[in-house]
């Protein structure tokens, strides 16, 4: 096996220290391959297919502990060296990049052309685009711009057997054939490796204004959110947290900042704290919440009118639980703090999950230590989706080339 792999690339390592760097929760691959171009990526996969080896794909390494527990695997293929900008078509407002490019680098590049990619997953700047899209990460800008499925126009995928296929393209509209981009986005690398991504860009706005509102109680919080949802204001992002503090951002769209502030205040019927800044300075301030790796992090997915119910519920818990929400998406992340024992954390997650169900929602364990993950299905998936997800996995990766365990149903 080793000999065959060596022929593919010189960036191939069996060194202990190197291998141990690519261990996921203590599970180490036998070898690590650093891929630098599409040809290599395809060859690796092809070879793994022939050798019946199991592959784990590694971008910047940021999401390896996301989801369930990864099972044993033979080779880790890293993509961070595979980071070319293939085609930056300014006039068409699209950019095509290889999957190993860091989001931060891409953001900087397009900024220089007065464009921007409205995609801001927390702590995403040092993650690879491929990893972010595969994990279906998103940030506060999802309020206006949606998530990866709304921003990705085209993908090149290396299939389990090493064949390279292309879906979508660089047009905004495209209904030729099945939209397989949707299948691979958010598939956690369980069906294929993302090789290349074409993304939709937007013009960089000159100025933005951030507004802040602090709600007295959860009813006031929901009341205010409702006003935001019902308003036709061009709100780009909304973030709320369990202190019932809501902040949102609006581009000035060519009118004077002062006028915008007046309009927003009068439309929402509140005098709001505000600050203005340029897009170059834009940051949602969500990174800190996600940075700490020590706590268990759960993700509530509820109908958007129930977000404040989640807050109310959490604030009623012992010690309170720091939470951060993208309320328009009905998503609340909660950090489970103050609990050490696995048993306690597992029980709390189960309790939360029960409550999420009561709110017509679901609860995923977003990030947790291995003992917790082993005792709990981290994905709160419905039976239909699970059944068909398994069927799809079986069809596209019949040999189980891609290391399993992380996604729904242990896929």
């Amino acid at each position: 096996m080793k000999e065959a792999f060596k022929n593919i690339s010189t960036h191939f390592s069996l060194q202990e220290d190197e291998i141990s760097r690519y261990a996921v929760r203590g599970i180490r691959p036998m070898a690590v391959a650093h891929v630098e171009n599409t040809g290599e990526l395809c060859q690796w996969l092809k070879e793994c297919w022939h050798q019946r080896a199991k592959v784990n794909v590694w971008g910047a390494g940021g999401f390896q502990e996301l989801g369930g527990a990864l099972t044993a695997h033979d080779i880790t293929v890293t993509t961070s060296g595979h980071h070319k900008i293939v085609d930056y078509d300014h006039d068409n407002f699209t950019v095509t990049v290889k999957s190993g490019l860091l989001l931060g680098e891409l953001a900087n590049t397009v900024k220089q052309h007065n464009q921007f990619l409205p995609y801001n997953p927390a702590t995403g700047a040092d993650k690879t685009i491929g990893g972010l899209v595969a994990a279906n990460e998103y940030g506060s800008l999802c309020f206006f711009f949606g998530t990866a499925r709304d921003l990705v126009l085209g993908l090149k995928i290396v299939l389990a057997d090493g064949r390279l296929v292309r879906f979508g393209g660089k047009t905004m509209k495209n209904v030729a054939g099945y939209d397989l981009c949707k299948l691979f986005i958010g598939s956690m690398g369980t069906l294929g490796v993302i090789d290349e991504i074409t993304l939709k860009l937007y013009p960089l706005p000159q100025e933005l204004i951030r507004f802040e509102y602090s709600a007295g109680d959860s009813d006031a919080c929901q009341g205010f959110l409702k006003k935001i949802y019902r308003s036709n204001l061009p709100i780009w992002d909304v973030v709320a947290d369990s202190r019932l503090f809501i902040r949102f951002t609006i581009p000035t769209l060519g009118i004077a900042g002062k006028d915008l502030i007046d309009k927003v205040s009068s439309q929402l019927g509140e005098t709001l704290q505000h600050s203005s800044f340029s897009m170059r300075e834009y940051s949602t301030g969500c990174d800190d919440f996600f940075k700490s790796n020590s706590d268990t992090l759960v993700k509530w997915i509820v109908p958007k009118s129930r977000v404040s119910d989640v807050f109310a519920y959490l604030n009623g818990q012992d010690g309170g639980m720091p939470s951060l929400a993208y309320p328009g998406r009905g998503v609340v992340f909660t950090r489970i703090t103050g609990y050490e024992k696995t048993e306690q954390i597992v029980n709390l997650c189960k309790k939360f999950r029960d409550h999420a169900r009561k709110l017509d929602g679901r609860l995923n364990v977003y990030r947790a230590d291995i003992p917790v993950v082993q005792k709990l299905d981290v994905w709160d998936v419905d039976q239909n989706t699970l059944y068909w997800s398994k069927a799809l996995k079986k069809e596209y990766d019949p040999q189980g080339v891609f290391a399993s365990g992380r996604f729904v149903g242990g896929i």
């Binding site: 709304d150 509209k173 308003s231 060519g254 109908p303 995923n364």
Partner: protein, 457 residues
């Protein structure tokens, strides 16, 4: 012909008056709005998910193809039955089941006309963003099945960006729901690829659609240009300036002349092309956008008019809305081409289309959803003239190749259906087509659900 015992079973499921099989009736269900034809063996009208489930189960047991049909306004043959079998007509499943304003979700049955939902939402201050030109008559089930576009998708995205969940009868005979009131669902994005699957992976029985607050105001501009390149260039220039209009529509001189001749519209017939540009949003946000757009347009040598009120707005739109109609009055048969290119390629592609049209002797006029590069040359001919029909087919084929060569696609919003299957090879290699076929095989291993569509046999 369907065996008698099968008819009996269908009658038992759907009721006698809801099963059609006379030769006259079957003749009437062999077409849609495209030029494709294919006669079904029987047509059933269903009123519930259970009806569909029972019919699908029966079809599967008897190994008979079945095809969903709404208003049959498909422009690529999607509702035609090239392999015969059962047509499952969902037009009577047209209720609005729920409008959940708090969560911004409308739950509807698939047979509801898009416009009927829009009217209901408008009365509550909401919109459903996808607004295909056929919205008066096309059903939402069809819109989702085809991942429909429309003028407003420049700003708001296409149908898939506005679908939260689906309930459907899958080819295994089960009723399954994916997604719903929440904005995401753990697992693969099944809702995502069901959009635009052209009814080949199952039949929708319930749609969970995203509602948006209605924009507070609209401003409409009409700009006319002396050259098509300036007009097409203006499209990119506006977007590059940081403005995303709600719509950005283009009409060429042939269309302009035709609408002026047959409708009471005031478009300058000397213009090479006109753009109709609309911005929407809260009232206060409109004026700065309009000023900026006007500046760009004038710099490119356009003459610009703006609508001061609704009457004037309607007047500006009248020509665009009536253009297809006015064009179709000129000759008996029409093909509305649907290729799409990166928007900065528009000037080049429009000139080349003209060359191809001249080479093949095609009579055509062009409408564009210019903002997203979606080209609709309207090609007119007489399908009774075999030689002319052949030239139209060949010309279209060439234009599709042109679009693909320029980084575009063969269809932006109408779908592949039967008509564009041969062109799929321009866009996809064997591997890609096989991966698509695998998706079909996962859900429909027997290949009975709307067969003969999307993928080459």
């Amino acid at each position: 012909m369907v065996p008698k015992n099968l008819l009996k079973k269908l009658v038992k499921i759907c009721g006698r008056e809801n099963v059609l099989y006379s030769p006259t009736d079957l003749y009437l269900y062999e077409y849609d709005a495209s030029m494709e034809r294919g006669k079904p063996d029987v047509v059933v009208f269903v009123t519930s998910a259970q009806d569909i489930q029972n019919v699908v189960r029966l079809a599967v047991a008897e190994n008979i193809p079945y095809t969903p049909r709404g208003s049959a306004t498909n422009l690529a043959g999607g509702s035609v039955t090239p392999k015969g079998g059962i047509v499952i007509e969902t037009a009577r499943m047209n209720r609005i089941l729920e409008i959940d304003e708090e969560n911004g979700v409308a739950v509807v049955e698939p047979g509801l006309y898009n416009l009927q939902l829009q009217n209901e939402l408008a009365s509550r201050g909401f919109v459903f963003a996808p607004d295909p030109a056929s919205q008066k008559v096309s059903t939402l089930g069809g819109n989702v099945g085809m991942n429909a576009g429309g003028p407003h998708c420049l700003k708001y995205g296409v149908t898939v960006n506005h679908v939260l969940g689906l309930e459907m009868v899958l080819p295994d005979g089960e009723i399954a729901r994916f997604g719903g009131y929440t904005q995401e669902t753990p697992g693969y994005d099944i809702v995502g690829f069901m959009n635009g699957s052209e009814g080949t992976l199952g039949i929708f029985t319930k749609l969970f659609l995203k509602m948006m607050p209605a924009p507070g105001g609209v401003e409409t501009l009409l700009a006319d240009f002396d050259g098509i390149e300036q007009a097409a260039g203006a499209v990119s220039a506006i977007i590059a300036a940081g403005i995303v209009p709600a719509t950005l529509e283009y009409m060429d001189q042939t269309c302009i002349k035709t609408v002026v001749a047959s409708l009471n519209v005031d478009y300058p017939t000397s213009a090479a092309a006109v753009l109709i540009i609309e911005v929407d949003g809260p009232q206060w946000s409109l004026a700065p956008q309009v000023t900026a757009i006007e500046k760009i347009l004038k710099k490119l040598g356009a003459r610009v008019r703006s609508a001061r009120d609704n009457t004037e707005r309607d007047a500006l739109w009248a020509g665009r809305r009536g253009a297809l109609g006015a064009m179709t009055r000129l000759k008996p048969s029409v093909v509305v081409f649907d290729g799409t290119v990166p928007r900065n390629k528009l000037p080049l592609v429009l000139v080349q289309i003209d060359d191809i049209a001249r080479e093949y002797g095609l009579f055509y006029g062009t409408l564009l959803h210019a903002g997203d590069g979606n080209i609709h040359p309207i090609i007119l001919y007489d399908e009774r003239d075999e030689e002319e029909t052949q030239r139209v087919h060949e010309g279209c084929d060439r234009i599709m190749q042109l679009c693909v060569n320029e980084g575009g696609t063969i269809t932006g919003e109408h779908g592949v259906g039967i008509e564009k299957i041969p062109a799929m090879k321009y866009l996809f290699g064997e591997d890609e087509l096989e991966v698509m076929k695998q998706l079909k095989d996962v859900f429909d291993p027997q290949g009975l659900c709307n067969p003969g569509k999307v993928l080459p046999a």
